[in-house]
Amino acid sequence: MASENGDDIGLAMSSISMFNKPSNTSDPFLGSGWDPMFHKVKALEYQSHPSFVELVPKLSGFDCGNLSQMAGPFGLPQYNQIANSRFPSNYALNAKGGNERGLTNGFRSLDEHRILEEALVGSLPNGNIRKRAPESDLQPPIDLSSEGCDGPKEQERKKQRTGGDSRGKQAAKQDKDGSQSGEAPKENYIHVRARRGQATNSHSLAERVRREKISERMRLLQEIVPGCNKITGKAVMLDEIINYVQSLQQQVEFLSMKLSTVNPELNLDIDRILSKDILRTRSGSAAAVGFGLGMNPSHAFSPGIFPRTTSGIPNTNPQFPPLPQQTMLDNELQNLFQMGFYSSSNMDDFGPNGRLKPEM
Protein backbone atom coordinates (compact mmCIF):
# COMPACT_ATOMS: atom_id res chain seq x y z
CA MET A 1 0.00 0.00 0.00
CA ALA A 2 2.64 2.44 0.98
CA SER A 3 4.83 1.67 -1.96
CA GLU A 4 1.98 1.87 -4.34
CA ASN A 5 1.12 5.24 -3.09
CA GLY A 6 4.71 6.19 -3.25
CA ASP A 7 4.77 5.50 -6.92
CA ASP A 8 1.87 7.74 -7.55
CA ILE A 9 3.46 10.59 -5.80
CA GLY A 10 3.80 12.75 -8.81
CA LEU A 11 0.14 12.88 -9.51
CA ALA A 12 -1.98 14.78 -7.16
CA MET A 13 -5.12 13.07 -8.25
CA SER A 14 -3.71 9.74 -7.55
CA SER A 15 -2.66 10.72 -4.13
CA ILE A 16 -6.04 12.11 -3.54
CA SER A 17 -7.56 9.00 -4.88
CA MET A 18 -5.50 7.07 -2.45
CA PHE A 19 -7.18 8.89 0.25
CA ASN A 20 -10.49 8.38 -1.27
CA LYS A 21 -10.20 4.77 -0.44
CA PRO A 22 -12.18 3.78 2.54
CA SER A 23 -10.46 4.38 5.70
CA ASN A 24 -10.63 0.91 7.01
CA THR A 25 -7.82 -0.31 4.87
CA SER A 26 -4.88 -1.75 6.60
CA ASP A 27 -2.69 1.15 5.93
CA PRO A 28 -0.16 1.34 8.67
CA PHE A 29 -0.46 5.06 8.86
CA LEU A 30 -4.09 5.51 8.40
CA GLY A 31 -4.77 2.95 10.97
CA SER A 32 -7.15 2.54 13.73
CA GLY A 33 -7.38 6.09 14.73
CA TRP A 34 -8.58 7.13 11.39
CA ASP A 35 -12.23 6.89 11.80
CA PRO A 36 -12.59 8.91 14.92
CA MET A 37 -10.33 11.46 13.40
CA PHE A 38 -12.34 11.54 10.33
CA HIS A 39 -15.53 12.08 12.18
CA LYS A 40 -14.16 14.67 14.43
CA VAL A 41 -12.68 16.54 11.62
CA LYS A 42 -15.97 16.48 9.92
CA ALA A 43 -17.53 17.75 13.05
CA LEU A 44 -15.34 20.75 12.77
CA GLU A 45 -17.28 21.68 9.71
CA TYR A 46 -14.27 23.14 8.35
CA GLN A 47 -15.05 22.05 4.94
CA SER A 48 -16.91 19.31 3.27
CA HIS A 49 -14.45 18.01 0.81
CA PRO A 50 -13.99 14.41 1.68
CA SER A 51 -10.50 14.06 0.39
CA PHE A 52 -9.43 17.09 2.28
CA VAL A 53 -10.85 15.69 5.41
CA GLU A 54 -9.15 12.43 4.90
CA LEU A 55 -5.94 14.02 4.03
CA VAL A 56 -5.96 16.23 7.01
CA PRO A 57 -5.10 13.77 9.71
CA LYS A 58 -2.42 12.39 7.54
CA LEU A 59 -0.72 15.64 7.22
CA SER A 60 -1.41 16.62 10.72
CA GLY A 61 0.59 13.64 11.65
CA PHE A 62 3.57 15.16 10.06
CA ASP A 63 3.37 18.79 9.72
CA CYS A 64 0.34 20.72 10.58
CA GLY A 65 1.47 23.74 8.79
CA ASN A 66 0.22 22.08 5.70
CA LEU A 67 -3.24 22.73 6.84
CA SER A 68 -2.71 26.42 6.84
CA GLN A 69 -2.04 26.36 3.21
CA MET A 70 -4.73 23.93 2.38
CA ALA A 71 -7.35 25.20 4.66
CA GLY A 72 -7.45 28.51 2.96
CA PRO A 73 -9.67 28.20 0.02
CA PHE A 74 -10.92 24.77 0.85
CA GLY A 75 -11.04 24.10 -2.79
CA LEU A 76 -9.69 21.23 -4.66
CA PRO A 77 -7.50 23.02 -7.20
CA GLN A 78 -5.40 24.66 -4.63
CA TYR A 79 -5.46 21.54 -2.70
CA ASN A 80 -4.06 19.88 -5.71
CA GLN A 81 -1.14 22.19 -5.88
CA ILE A 82 -0.45 21.85 -2.28
CA ALA A 83 -0.83 18.15 -2.32
CA ASN A 84 1.47 18.14 -5.25
CA SER A 85 4.13 20.20 -3.71
CA ARG A 86 4.06 19.04 -0.23
CA PHE A 87 2.15 15.96 0.14
CA PRO A 88 4.39 13.69 -1.89
CA SER A 89 7.45 14.45 0.11
CA ASN A 90 5.43 14.24 3.23
CA TYR A 91 4.12 10.93 2.33
CA ALA A 92 7.41 9.76 1.01
CA LEU A 93 9.05 10.50 4.25
CA ASN A 94 6.39 8.71 6.12
CA ALA A 95 6.71 5.84 3.80
CA LYS A 96 10.40 5.55 4.10
CA GLY A 97 12.40 6.83 6.91
CA GLY A 98 10.38 8.58 9.49
CA ASN A 99 8.01 5.78 9.90
CA GLU A 100 8.02 5.67 13.59
CA ARG A 101 8.08 9.37 13.76
CA GLY A 102 5.22 9.92 11.43
CA LEU A 103 3.34 7.06 12.88
CA THR A 104 3.63 8.16 16.41
CA ASN A 105 2.92 11.67 15.46
CA GLY A 106 0.01 10.59 13.43
CA PHE A 107 -1.41 8.47 16.13
CA ARG A 108 -0.83 11.04 18.70
CA SER A 109 -2.59 13.59 16.72
CA LEU A 110 -5.22 11.21 15.67
CA ASP A 111 -6.07 10.41 19.19
CA GLU A 112 -6.65 13.95 20.11
CA HIS A 113 -8.66 15.70 17.58
CA ARG A 114 -8.19 18.95 19.29
CA ILE A 115 -4.66 18.96 18.12
CA LEU A 116 -6.05 19.11 14.68
CA GLU A 117 -8.19 21.98 15.67
CA GLU A 118 -5.26 23.64 17.16
CA ALA A 119 -3.18 22.88 14.18
CA LEU A 120 -5.71 24.36 11.91
CA VAL A 121 -6.28 27.31 14.02
CA GLY A 122 -2.74 27.64 15.15
CA SER A 123 -1.52 27.63 11.65
CA LEU A 124 -4.15 29.92 10.43
CA PRO A 125 -3.13 32.92 12.38
CA ASN A 126 0.36 32.07 11.46
CA GLY A 127 -0.54 31.98 7.85
CA ASN A 128 0.43 35.35 6.85
CA ILE A 129 -1.51 34.96 3.70
CA ARG A 130 -5.01 34.19 4.76
CA LYS A 131 -7.26 35.05 7.57
CA ARG A 132 -10.75 33.84 7.84
CA ALA A 133 -13.74 33.80 10.10
CA PRO A 134 -13.77 30.20 11.24
CA GLU A 135 -10.51 30.60 12.95
CA SER A 136 -12.04 32.93 15.44
CA ASP A 137 -14.45 30.24 16.48
CA LEU A 138 -11.67 27.87 17.17
CA GLN A 139 -9.39 30.26 18.89
CA PRO A 140 -10.47 29.37 22.41
CA PRO A 141 -9.40 25.75 22.39
CA ILE A 142 -5.86 26.68 21.67
CA ASP A 143 -4.71 26.29 25.22
CA LEU A 144 -4.17 22.65 24.72
CA SER A 145 -0.73 21.82 25.79
CA SER A 146 -0.16 18.50 24.15
CA GLU A 147 2.84 17.88 22.04
CA GLY A 148 1.93 19.13 18.70
CA CYS A 149 3.34 18.04 15.51
CA ASP A 150 4.12 21.38 14.18
CA GLY A 151 6.39 24.23 14.71
CA PRO A 152 3.88 26.95 13.97
CA LYS A 153 1.65 25.83 16.70
CA GLU A 154 4.55 25.76 19.03
CA GLN A 155 5.61 29.14 17.93
CA GLU A 156 2.13 30.43 18.40
CA ARG A 157 2.09 29.21 21.94
CA LYS A 158 5.50 30.52 22.50
CA LYS A 159 4.34 33.89 21.53
CA GLN A 160 1.18 33.75 23.56
CA ARG A 161 2.52 32.21 26.67
CA THR A 162 6.04 32.53 27.80
CA GLY A 163 5.55 29.82 30.34
CA GLY A 164 5.67 27.00 27.94
CA ASP A 165 8.70 28.29 26.25
CA SER A 166 11.11 25.52 26.93
CA ARG A 167 8.62 22.89 25.97
CA GLY A 168 7.76 24.68 22.84
CA LYS A 169 11.35 24.90 21.88
CA GLN A 170 11.91 21.26 22.57
CA ALA A 171 8.98 20.18 20.52
CA ALA A 172 9.97 22.39 17.69
CA LYS A 173 13.40 20.95 17.79
CA GLN A 174 12.05 17.45 17.74
CA ASP A 175 10.00 18.19 14.73
CA LYS A 176 12.87 19.70 12.97
CA ASP A 177 15.06 16.77 13.67
CA GLY A 178 12.48 14.27 12.67
CA SER A 179 11.79 15.96 9.44
CA GLN A 180 15.21 17.06 8.58
CA SER A 181 15.90 14.71 5.76
CA GLY A 182 15.03 16.69 2.72
CA GLU A 183 12.23 18.58 4.34
CA ALA A 184 13.99 21.82 5.09
CA PRO A 185 12.54 23.81 2.23
CA LYS A 186 9.13 22.46 2.95
CA GLU A 187 9.42 23.47 6.55
CA ASN A 188 10.51 26.89 5.61
CA TYR A 189 7.44 27.22 3.58
CA ILE A 190 5.13 26.00 6.24
CA HIS A 191 6.46 27.46 9.41
CA VAL A 192 5.32 30.90 8.80
CA ARG A 193 7.32 32.21 11.63
CA ALA A 194 10.47 31.04 9.94
CA ARG A 195 10.24 32.71 6.60
CA ARG A 196 11.59 31.31 3.46
CA GLY A 197 15.24 30.61 3.53
CA GLN A 198 15.70 31.41 7.17
CA ALA A 199 16.87 29.19 9.92
CA THR A 200 14.19 27.35 11.73
CA ASN A 201 15.80 26.24 14.91
CA SER A 202 14.23 27.38 18.06
CA HIS A 203 16.94 29.80 18.96
CA SER A 204 16.67 31.87 15.86
CA LEU A 205 12.92 31.83 16.09
CA ALA A 206 13.02 33.11 19.61
CA GLU A 207 15.48 35.68 18.53
CA ARG A 208 13.24 36.79 15.78
CA VAL A 209 10.37 37.23 18.17
CA ARG A 210 12.59 39.26 20.38
CA ARG A 211 13.80 41.37 17.54
CA GLU A 212 10.27 42.07 16.48
CA LYS A 213 9.43 43.20 19.94
CA ILE A 214 12.38 45.48 19.99
CA SER A 215 11.60 47.00 16.65
CA GLU A 216 8.03 47.55 17.73
CA ARG A 217 9.22 49.46 20.75
CA MET A 218 11.58 51.44 18.62
CA ARG A 219 8.68 52.45 16.46
CA LEU A 220 6.79 53.67 19.48
CA LEU A 221 9.75 55.65 20.60
CA GLN A 222 10.07 57.09 17.17
CA GLU A 223 6.65 58.62 17.54
CA ILE A 224 7.40 60.00 20.95
CA VAL A 225 10.70 61.58 20.24
CA PRO A 226 10.13 64.58 18.03
CA GLY A 227 11.82 64.74 14.72
CA CYS A 228 12.53 61.09 14.30
CA ASN A 229 10.21 60.29 11.47
CA LYS A 230 12.83 60.24 8.80
CA ILE A 231 15.33 58.28 10.74
CA THR A 232 15.65 54.71 9.75
CA GLY A 233 18.17 52.65 11.55
CA LYS A 234 18.29 51.59 15.09
CA ALA A 235 21.65 53.05 15.98
CA VAL A 236 20.79 56.52 14.83
CA MET A 237 17.42 56.23 16.46
CA LEU A 238 18.99 55.27 19.73
CA ASP A 239 21.34 58.20 19.48
CA GLU A 240 18.40 60.49 19.01
CA ILE A 241 16.64 59.01 21.95
CA ILE A 242 19.69 59.42 24.10
CA ASN A 243 20.06 63.01 23.06
CA TYR A 244 16.46 63.71 23.77
CA VAL A 245 16.57 62.17 27.21
CA GLN A 246 19.71 64.09 27.99
CA SER A 247 18.16 67.32 26.85
CA LEU A 248 15.08 66.71 28.96
CA GLN A 249 17.14 66.02 32.00
CA GLN A 250 19.16 69.16 31.42
CA GLN A 251 15.98 71.12 31.13
CA VAL A 252 14.80 69.82 34.44
CA GLU A 253 18.05 70.87 36.02
CA PHE A 254 17.92 74.22 34.42
CA LEU A 255 14.39 74.84 35.53
CA SER A 256 15.06 73.76 39.04
CA MET A 257 17.98 76.12 39.14
CA LYS A 258 15.71 78.83 37.92
CA LEU A 259 13.16 78.03 40.53
CA SER A 260 15.76 78.16 43.21
CA THR A 261 16.57 81.75 42.43
CA VAL A 262 13.04 82.93 42.35
CA ASN A 263 11.57 84.88 45.18
CA PRO A 264 8.74 83.22 46.96
CA GLU A 265 6.68 86.32 47.11
CA LEU A 266 3.53 84.58 46.14
CA ASN A 267 1.32 83.08 48.73
CA LEU A 268 -0.78 80.01 48.84
CA ASP A 269 -3.95 81.01 47.14
CA ILE A 270 -2.01 82.07 44.18
CA ASP A 271 -0.42 78.70 44.28
CA ARG A 272 -3.78 77.18 43.85
CA ILE A 273 -4.51 79.31 40.88
CA LEU A 274 -1.11 78.45 39.68
CA SER A 275 -1.76 74.77 39.82
CA LYS A 276 -4.88 75.19 37.79
CA ASP A 277 -2.95 77.25 35.39
CA ILE A 278 -0.18 74.78 35.14
CA LEU A 279 -2.48 71.92 34.52
CA ARG A 280 -3.61 73.45 31.36
CA THR A 281 -1.58 71.71 28.77
CA ARG A 282 0.68 73.60 26.55
CA SER A 283 2.11 71.64 23.77
CA GLY A 284 3.96 74.41 22.09
CA SER A 285 6.91 74.14 24.28
CA ALA A 286 9.30 73.04 21.61
CA ALA A 287 10.44 76.48 20.67
CA ALA A 288 10.68 77.54 24.24
CA VAL A 289 12.65 74.48 24.95
CA GLY A 290 15.09 75.34 22.30
CA PHE A 291 15.59 78.75 23.72
CA GLY A 292 15.76 77.50 27.20
CA LEU A 293 18.55 75.22 26.22
CA GLY A 294 20.36 77.76 24.23
CA MET A 295 20.53 80.09 27.15
CA ASN A 296 23.56 79.94 29.23
CA PRO A 297 22.42 78.91 32.66
CA SER A 298 24.81 81.14 34.43
CA HIS A 299 23.26 84.12 32.82
CA ALA A 300 19.80 83.06 33.52
CA PHE A 301 20.27 82.84 37.19
CA SER A 302 21.11 86.39 37.75
CA PRO A 303 18.14 87.89 39.47
CA GLY A 304 18.23 90.73 37.10
CA ILE A 305 16.26 88.78 34.63
CA PHE A 306 13.06 89.08 36.39
CA PRO A 307 12.40 92.77 36.59
CA ARG A 308 13.14 93.01 32.92
CA THR A 309 10.69 90.40 31.96
CA THR A 310 8.19 91.90 34.28
CA SER A 311 8.28 95.02 32.28
CA GLY A 312 7.94 93.10 29.08
CA ILE A 313 4.71 91.43 29.96
CA PRO A 314 1.42 92.95 30.95
CA ASN A 315 0.77 92.22 34.52
CA THR A 316 -2.05 93.01 36.85
CA ASN A 317 -0.17 92.15 39.96
CA PRO A 318 1.72 95.24 40.84
CA GLN A 319 2.91 94.10 44.21
CA PHE A 320 5.80 92.10 42.94
CA PRO A 321 8.75 93.46 44.84
CA PRO A 322 11.43 94.64 42.54
CA LEU A 323 14.31 92.28 42.57
CA PRO A 324 17.56 93.70 43.79
CA GLN A 325 20.15 93.68 41.09
CA GLN A 326 20.20 94.15 37.45
CA THR A 327 22.87 93.03 35.16
CA MET A 328 24.00 94.09 31.80
CA LEU A 329 22.60 90.98 30.26
CA ASP A 330 19.12 92.19 30.77
CA ASN A 331 18.42 93.23 27.29
CA GLU A 332 19.38 90.11 25.52
CA LEU A 333 17.77 88.02 28.16
CA GLN A 334 14.66 90.02 27.90
CA ASN A 335 14.58 89.42 24.23
CA LEU A 336 15.23 85.76 24.74
CA PHE A 337 12.50 85.45 27.23
CA GLN A 338 10.01 87.31 25.23
CA MET A 339 10.71 85.48 22.08
CA GLY A 340 11.42 82.05 23.34
CA PHE A 341 9.96 81.42 26.66
CA TYR A 342 6.80 83.30 26.27
CA SER A 343 5.92 83.33 22.68
CA SER A 344 4.92 79.77 22.27
CA SER A 345 3.97 78.75 25.69
CA ASN A 346 2.48 81.59 27.60
CA MET A 347 1.17 84.40 25.54
CA ASP A 348 -1.79 82.51 24.29
CA ASP A 349 -2.80 81.44 27.69
CA PHE A 350 -3.06 84.78 29.22
CA GLY A 351 -5.67 87.25 28.37
CA PRO A 352 -5.05 90.91 28.42
CA ASN A 353 -5.25 90.87 32.17
CA GLY A 354 -2.24 88.75 32.63
CA ARG A 355 -1.72 85.33 33.83
CA LEU A 356 -3.62 85.51 37.03
CA LYS A 357 -6.86 85.48 35.23
CA PRO A 358 -8.01 82.05 34.18
CA GLU A 359 -8.49 81.85 30.54
CA MET A 360 -12.08 81.97 29.50
Binding site: E207, R217, K258, L259, S260, V262, I278, V289, P303, G354
Partner: protein, 158 residues
Protein backbone atom coordinates in the same frame (compact mmCIF):
# COMPACT_ATOMS: atom_id res chain seq x y z
CA UNK B 1 -10.17 77.32 22.90
CA UNK B 2 -11.81 76.69 26.21
CA UNK B 3 -10.08 74.40 28.53
CA UNK B 4 -12.15 72.94 31.29
CA UNK B 5 -10.96 74.16 34.60
CA UNK B 6 -10.77 70.75 36.06
CA UNK B 7 -8.22 68.60 34.44
CA UNK B 8 -8.13 64.96 35.26
CA UNK B 9 -7.11 64.86 38.90
CA UNK B 10 -5.64 61.44 38.50
CA UNK B 11 -3.42 62.22 35.60
CA UNK B 12 0.30 62.10 35.93
CA UNK B 13 0.52 65.80 35.42
CA UNK B 14 -1.81 66.78 38.23
CA UNK B 15 -0.27 64.30 40.60
CA UNK B 16 3.15 65.63 39.89
CA UNK B 17 2.03 69.23 40.10
CA UNK B 18 0.44 68.96 43.48
CA UNK B 19 3.34 67.08 44.93
CA UNK B 20 5.91 69.35 43.48
CA UNK B 21 4.17 72.51 44.58
CA UNK B 22 3.88 71.17 48.05
CA UNK B 23 7.55 70.39 48.11
CA UNK B 24 8.39 73.78 46.70
CA UNK B 25 6.48 75.64 49.32
CA UNK B 26 8.11 73.53 51.94
CA UNK B 27 11.53 74.34 50.61
CA UNK B 28 10.74 77.97 50.35
CA UNK B 29 9.43 78.03 53.86
CA UNK B 30 12.69 76.78 55.17
CA UNK B 31 14.73 79.86 54.52
CA UNK B 32 13.90 83.14 52.97
CA UNK B 33 15.64 83.98 49.76
CA UNK B 34 17.04 87.14 51.12
CA UNK B 35 20.51 85.82 50.85
CA UNK B 36 21.48 85.33 47.31
CA UNK B 37 24.80 83.77 47.97
CA UNK B 38 25.70 81.20 45.42
CA UNK B 39 26.04 78.43 47.93
CA UNK B 40 22.58 79.05 49.21
CA UNK B 41 21.23 79.12 45.75
CA UNK B 42 23.06 75.99 44.86
CA UNK B 43 21.82 74.19 47.90
CA UNK B 44 18.33 75.20 47.14
CA UNK B 45 18.76 74.14 43.58
CA UNK B 46 19.79 70.71 44.69
CA UNK B 47 16.83 70.47 46.98
CA UNK B 48 14.46 71.54 44.31
CA UNK B 49 15.89 69.13 41.83
CA UNK B 50 15.59 66.30 44.30
CA UNK B 51 12.05 67.40 45.05
CA UNK B 52 11.19 67.38 41.39
CA UNK B 53 12.60 63.92 40.86
CA UNK B 54 11.03 62.65 43.98
CA UNK B 55 7.60 63.98 43.24
CA UNK B 56 7.78 62.53 39.76
CA UNK B 57 8.87 59.16 41.06
CA UNK B 58 6.15 59.20 43.67
CA UNK B 59 3.57 60.03 41.10
CA UNK B 60 4.49 56.91 39.25
CA UNK B 61 4.90 54.83 42.38
CA UNK B 62 6.26 51.40 41.73
CA UNK B 63 4.59 50.84 38.47
CA UNK B 64 7.71 51.29 36.50
CA UNK B 65 11.19 50.04 37.06
CA UNK B 66 12.75 53.41 36.63
CA UNK B 67 10.58 55.00 39.26
CA UNK B 68 11.42 52.27 41.69
CA UNK B 69 15.08 52.67 40.99
CA UNK B 70 14.85 56.40 41.40
CA UNK B 71 13.04 56.13 44.69
CA UNK B 72 15.60 53.67 45.86
CA UNK B 73 18.37 55.98 44.86
CA UNK B 74 16.78 58.94 46.58
CA UNK B 75 16.21 57.04 49.75
CA UNK B 76 19.69 55.61 49.82
CA UNK B 77 21.04 59.06 49.24
CA UNK B 78 19.21 60.42 52.22
CA UNK B 79 20.54 57.58 54.28
CA UNK B 80 24.04 58.38 53.29
CA UNK B 81 25.29 57.50 56.71
CA UNK B 82 25.68 53.95 55.58
CA UNK B 83 28.13 53.85 52.73
CA UNK B 84 28.18 50.08 52.80
CA UNK B 85 24.76 49.80 51.35
CA UNK B 86 25.49 51.93 48.37
CA UNK B 87 28.73 50.13 47.71
CA UNK B 88 26.96 46.85 47.87
CA UNK B 89 24.30 48.08 45.56
CA UNK B 90 26.86 49.39 43.15
CA UNK B 91 28.62 46.07 43.02
CA UNK B 92 25.32 44.33 42.54
CA UNK B 93 24.45 46.64 39.74
CA UNK B 94 27.79 46.07 38.12
CA UNK B 95 27.30 42.35 38.21
CA UNK B 96 23.88 42.55 36.71
CA UNK B 97 25.11 45.00 34.17
CA UNK B 98 27.77 42.65 32.88
CA UNK B 99 25.45 39.72 32.70
CA UNK B 100 22.72 41.51 30.86
CA UNK B 101 24.79 43.44 28.41
CA UNK B 102 26.78 40.44 27.35
CA UNK B 103 23.59 38.53 26.82
CA UNK B 104 22.39 40.72 24.00
CA UNK B 105 21.43 39.16 20.76
CA UNK B 106 23.64 40.25 17.98
CA UNK B 107 21.73 43.35 17.05
CA UNK B 108 24.64 45.64 17.59
CA UNK B 109 23.11 47.97 20.11
CA UNK B 110 25.98 47.76 22.50
CA UNK B 111 27.31 51.25 22.85
CA UNK B 112 24.11 53.20 22.63
CA UNK B 113 22.26 50.80 24.81
CA UNK B 114 24.78 51.19 27.59
CA UNK B 115 24.50 54.95 27.31
CA UNK B 116 20.78 54.72 27.54
CA UNK B 117 21.07 52.53 30.54
CA UNK B 118 23.06 55.20 32.29
CA UNK B 119 20.50 57.80 31.51
CA UNK B 120 17.40 55.96 32.54
CA UNK B 121 17.42 55.27 36.25
CA UNK B 122 17.56 51.61 36.95
CA UNK B 123 18.43 50.85 33.41
CA UNK B 124 21.46 48.79 34.17
CA UNK B 125 19.53 45.74 35.12
CA UNK B 126 17.13 45.59 32.22
CA UNK B 127 17.26 43.85 28.93
CA UNK B 128 16.90 45.90 25.84
CA UNK B 129 13.23 45.24 25.38
CA UNK B 130 12.25 46.47 28.79
CA UNK B 131 14.76 49.23 28.57
CA UNK B 132 12.98 50.67 25.57
CA UNK B 133 9.67 50.42 27.37
CA UNK B 134 11.01 52.20 30.38
CA UNK B 135 12.61 54.81 28.21
CA UNK B 136 9.32 55.63 26.57
CA UNK B 137 7.57 56.08 29.87
CA UNK B 138 10.48 57.98 31.30
CA UNK B 139 10.46 60.38 28.39
CA UNK B 140 6.77 60.97 28.84
CA UNK B 141 7.25 61.72 32.52
CA UNK B 142 10.20 63.96 31.86
CA UNK B 143 8.24 66.02 29.39
CA UNK B 144 5.46 66.42 31.90
CA UNK B 145 7.94 67.47 34.49
CA UNK B 146 9.51 70.00 32.20
CA UNK B 147 6.16 71.46 31.24
CA UNK B 148 5.02 71.90 34.78
CA UNK B 149 8.27 73.30 36.04
CA UNK B 150 8.43 75.70 33.17
CA UNK B 151 5.01 77.02 33.97
CA UNK B 152 5.90 77.42 37.58
CA UNK B 153 9.09 79.18 36.72
CA UNK B 154 7.35 81.49 34.34
CA UNK B 155 4.73 82.22 36.90
CA UNK B 156 7.20 83.07 39.53
CA UNK B 157 9.39 85.03 37.26
CA UNK B 158 6.83 87.66 36.55
Amino acid sequence: MNNPHHMNPRSLKSRFTTRFLRALTKIRAQKPISSSSPTEIFRRYRKIKVAADKSMAYSVRSRKTWSRAMLWKLRSRSHRRRPVKTKFRQSVMKNTKTTTTTGEDGVGFGVEASELRELVPGGEAMDLCNLLDETAHYIKCLTTQVQVMKKIADFYSL
